[in-house]
Symmetry: C2
Subunit: 310 residues, 2 copies
């Protein structure tokens, strides 16, 4: 029950999501039961597919993520991760403290053996109406070539399993299309990704430039360091917000709306974790829940394990 | 007379620019005189403010820039740089080979003493209708903190002199607003830029994220490494192209149209050089010429010199 506008929009989002979830899915809400009930104008808490786990603490914006995760053991994030690790739930999502969500992902869930650095990813809707996955979008500001090369595998599996893209085209974000172009990092990464491509690990299609990202014509998965990815993501989000404020809208523009994306998966860890925007609206919460269900129902985590330590 | 659609759009662009130029400005066209005349349905070549310098060679897309610049000594780019270095012209612009334009900028014109690495910059129109300058956008894919710190000075002088922004707000592009955020490069750069700000070299306003770039609310000059800048520029251009193709237009969207920007100045060198888009339209050429006049009429180069070796 995290996020800047919780629990109101969280309850509203859960209600909106419920009609889209599989009949076999149970949606477990972690939060203050009385506060949830007070916002529940939908009869949500009486729905047989809803479970509530009462939590009494809140990790606030200003809290130190590591300390807060350890000390506020009855916060929705801490309790949620315990349920995830014990297998009571198949996936966990929150629009609460991003820092605490990352602490839970890395410390409680843990990274998959063989994965050098997990990544966070985001999907954009392209001009062709398909999805393109960009990773890393901020977990690892400084990446080694080996890390980017692994992101090809991680992104490819996620795109295939969760986004439903068969044989995803994996590209390296670069400043020039030729193999020898780039900065020190991408120049060193290209041959390593090409080798993984040749070995059949993923469908490597070479370098793409920023101009290709949103066309959908060249790549389904675009790999980059977390500094570049985060900058791109935030620039695109910022431009969307400007257009939105000016009342400009179209399917293309709405393709950049974070509310439709559902959140940022943490990839390369031992379970399904999705981080929502702190300022999530009810629509964003609903799509975050739907994305979490979709990801949790896939074979993603065991495919990561096979790829990295099989 | 370079560019993919030269000399047709170049003549058309020169014609369109002429009405906007100062009465004291002479526009010198470098190119094949007969080819120019064949496209001149405007009587441009008879205009007293137009000079033509005939050139007989063309640097082609596939040519090696360094070799072509040396060997094709009667190409419009080689001849143009000679005229620039001899002081016959005050500024030089071309939409021809970007590589050859860079060779001319670095070898013929030369960088200003004390400048570690020159930069190329681009301006975007913000949501507030102001300009924001982004640099570097691709000259230096890997930057040291000292280089980014100098870009603050270079960008500030250009923004003030050529874009007409008094006391430009200079920011460091980063993934987080707090001083301690970022990758290794930006973490090392922040205190150095802050020191330059404290010393009064420029008006340093701290870190900005991608989401701030196009709002105009926080910064007038945004400094970053050439990989990040080039990626951002091309992503924005690509998104503009998608919207344009779908027939979507508005003042905000048109603010991202490269045709309105006029080209990319090479900054930190001993003269005024503007590089146009290879695929420049007549409108883009016209704006490139106007930008070149504006930049050449300023005190920019001597201010760079004072800043770096005064």
């Amino acid at each position: 029950m995290g996020g800047d506008f919780a629990p109101r929009v969280t309850v509203e989002g859960a209600h909106a999501a419920l009609t889209h979830l599989s009949a076999e899915t149970t949606l477990v809400l972690f939060g203050d039961r009385a506060a949830l009930a007070a916002e529940d104008t939908y009869g949500l808490l009486d729905d047989p597919r809803i479970d509530v786990v009462h939590t009494s603490e809140v990790i606030a914006m200003g809290d130190h993520p590591v300390k807060a995760f350890a000390q506020k053991s009855d916060s929705s994030i801490a309790v949620g991760f315990r349920h995830l690790c014990e297998g009571d739930i198949a996936g966990f999502a929150s629009a609460g403290s991003t820092g605490a969500m990352m602490v839970g992902s890395m410390q409680a869930v843990g990274q998959i053996e063989g994965v050098i650095r997990p990544a966070i990813a985001t999907a954009f809707r392209t001009a062709m109406g398909t999805d393109v996955l960009l990773l890393d979008v901020g977990l690892n500001a400084d990446c080694k070539p080996e890390v980017l090369t692994q992101y090809g595998t991680i992104g490819s599996i996620y795109a295939r399993e969760t986004l439903g893209i068969p044989n995803p085209r994996v590209a390296l974000l670069n400043i020039g299309e030729e193999p020898e172009k780039g900065n020190l990092l991408t120049k060193a990464t290209y041959p390593m990704m090409a080798e993984r491509g040749a070995a059949g690990d993923y469908n490597f299609v070479g370098n793409v430039e920023g101009k290709h990202l949103l066309t959908g014509e060249v790549a389904d998965v675009v790999v980059c360091d977390g500094f570049s990815g985060n900058t791109l993501l935030k620039t695109i989000e910022g431009f969307y917000r400007i257009l939105h404020r000016k009342g400009q809208s179209s399917p293309i523009i709405e393709g950049l709306n974070y509310e439709n994306v559902g959140g940022t998966p943490v990839l390369g860890i031992n379970s399904t974790v999705i981080i929502g925007h702190g300022c999530s609206s009810a629509l964003a919460i609903a799509n975050m829940i739907r994305l979490t269900e979709r990801a949790a129902r896939t074979d993603m985590v065991s495919q990561f394990k096979r790829a990295f330590n099989g």
